[in-house]
Amino acid sequence: MIRLNNICKTYESKKVAKEVLKGVNCTIRRGELVAIMGKSGAGKSTLLNIIGGLLEATSGQYFLDDLDVTAMTRGTRDRFREQQIGLIVQDYALIGSLTAYDNIAMPLEFRNVPINLARKLIKEIALELEIAHLLSQKVHSLSGGECQRVAIARALIKQPTVLLADEPTGALDEQTEQKILELLQRLKQDNRIIVLATHSRDVANCCDRVLRISEGVLVSN
């Protein structure tokens, strides 16, 4: 379970300090698929990055189960992110010159997983996401929907507790969007927490719950 208590985030530059999150409180249970909605600049991505351990909250507390993430040092938080969080981003963040297989294998490589085991895990996840036939292809030759599935496979290969997706269907056509959403619905059944940041009502309607954020404040839950 994710628990956010009065989370604030301020970006400070030399001249100005910009308060992006102003005391966000919420709880997300395991097995829930939750959408965070809001205008551009409302603080969706920042909240997602804080949950993902990429950013540190300026104040407040963030618990994942009984782990106080806000109390972690940077190194511990990095390890926490590596072990517990799967990230899917709007531009997929894949390395175009590598094959789909190599991209999916990256998190396993960073964990020094033996090659044979990695191969088995990748094959399983590829079958589940229907991308087995794409594994040997270079990512730059894949379509947007295929790239997104590769990105999801990469996020899932390390079996994270929390799957975070920033605009996961933003660049996809309706049909592909539907497929991805169905996939996410299936994935939450493994007792995972899935959080999406989206502008799309259609995407939000497919989720169990919608958190609306406006000017750094959670306005509806």
């Binding site: 190194g75 990095d78 390890r79 590596e82 981003v89 963040a93 175009g96 990256m106 990469r154």
Partner: protein
């Protein structure tokens, strides 16, 4: 894992990596040439000019005719005592740089070593003695003080002269150092027959001088590449024949025509000392002459100016190389943002990313260093006594100077552009 990822990045970007390695290697090679030459010139300049900083007073006898004097044993003994007083007075330095040529029996070299060769052809360079042909070659004989002050640091790969070498013993064998162009003509240990004022002596080759070795003499630089440099010996042996007495007389007249560098005396003070010694030994007068040091001064100024220009060039090249390396790496970071983001999303930490980028730079730099070191070894190993220092300066300093800004920029870039 860090170096594995860095290595993969390099293999994925073969063209950029290869260009970077070639750039680093070329830059380091050029810097090495430049720094090596600067160091070498500075060292040589200091070696050559360090002892020629003061104005020397050259002494001349005005004895005419000389023959009867040097055939007179009593006169010769008086000259030896007169000389001994001058040479051992510690209020001034007494230098002997005798340029008298020497006749060598069975000479193995070519005409370039002969006396007068550089002045439009050697004349009267052959003479017969005991049915053997002797060739007259260029020679310089030094006393110990002159050797120490002017030449000791220009001897290559050999033991130079020791103080004991400057005393003649019954063997009549003197050590000789040969100019660089004698290499291949004679070997270390060879014994050369010589004829000097009718007496046969032997020179034993002690070693060779460094190429370009030179010595200031009478306001000029004498370049010794084609010279035999021997000791101007002190002779305590009693002459056993008329020929030996004549030889000792000739030798000591040459020795007396040395030069003086004043230390604790003014010129009038020195003239008084000289006069006192003359009266003490009932000797002839010695004249004092100076030579304008214009040639040497000009040479010195020119060399120092050239060194300064080279230093400036070396520093500019160094700054340019470091700047291009830093800017190139920064540009490369910007272009690699997407890949870095992919790695971050895949689970790498920001610290890992920074380490990978530094590791890439280290690997590329090492490649450049290896290439440059090979090129330096085969093409341009400089003849500098501080090779290790030059190598360290040119190969490692650019790394140390550039890795710090690269590290700082990589950290900022990852936090501000990749993480957000």
């Amino acid at each position: 894992m860090i170096y594995d990822q860095a290595r993969r990045w390099i293999f994925r970007h073969k063209l950029i990596s290869l260009s970077t390695v070639v750039y680093i290697a070329t830059s380091l090679f050029c810097m090495h040439i430049l720094f090596g030459n600067v160091m070498s010139i500075k060292t040589r300049t200091d070696e050559v000019f360090s002892a020629s900083a003061g104005e020397e007073l050259y002494l001349y006898d005005n004895v005419e005719p000389l023959g009867p004097v040097i055939r007179n044993p009593e006169q010769v003994q008086a000259v030896k005592r007169y000389y001994a007083d001058l040479a051992t007075d510690d209020r001034f330095k007494f230098y002997e740089r005798i340029g008298q040529p020497i006749s060598v029996g069975g000479f193995k070299g070519t005409d370039i070593f002969c006396y007068g060769y550089e002045h439009g052809g050697a004349v009267n360079i052959y003479e017969m003695h005991n049915m053997q042909q002797y060739t007259t070659v260029k020679q310089l004989a030094l006393n110990f003080v002159a050797y120490q002050d002017f030449l000791a640091n220009q001897v290559a790969d050999a033991i130079g002269f020791t103080e004991e070498d400057f005393y003649l013993d019954e063997s009549y064998i003197l050590p000789v150092l040969l100019g660089a162009e004698y290499e291949g003509v004679y070997e270390v240990g060879d014994v050369i027959d010589c004829l000097y004022y009718g007496i046969t002596t032997k020179y034993k080759v002690r070693g060779f001088l460094r190429q370009g070795a030179c010595i200031p003499r009478k306001g000029q630089m004498v370049y010794l590449d084609r010279y035999m440099v021997t000791v101007s010996p002190t002779v305590t042996l009693e002459p056993q024949s008329e020929d030996e007495a004549y030889w000792q007389g000739a030798l000591y007249f040459h020795k007396l025509n040395g030069s003086v560098l004043l230390q604790d005396l003014t010129l009038p003070g020195f003239i008084n000392v000289l006069e006192a010694y003359r009266l003490k030994h009932g000797m002839f007068e010695l004249h004092i002459m100076t030579y304008p040091e214009t040639a040497i001064t000009s040479l010195r100024l020119l060399t120092y100016a050239s060194t300064d220009i080279l230093v400036l060039l070396a520093v500019l090249l160094f700054v340019f190389v470091a700047l291009v390396l830093v800017l190139g790496t920064i540009l490369n970071l910007s272009q690699d943002r997407k890949n870095m983001r992919a790695m971050l999303v895949s689970g790498l930490t920001t610290n890992d990313l920074r380490k990978i980028k530094i590791a890439e730079f280290k690997l590329l730099y090492s490649g450049g260093v290896i290439l440059a070191a090979i090129a330096i070894f085969f093409l341009a190993l400089p003849a500098t006594p501080s090779l290790a220092l030059v190598l360290a300066m040119t190969l490692l300093t650019p790394y140390m100077v550039t890795v710090i800004p690269i590290n700082i920029h990589a950290t900022r870039f990852i936090n501000n552009r990749v993480l957000r």
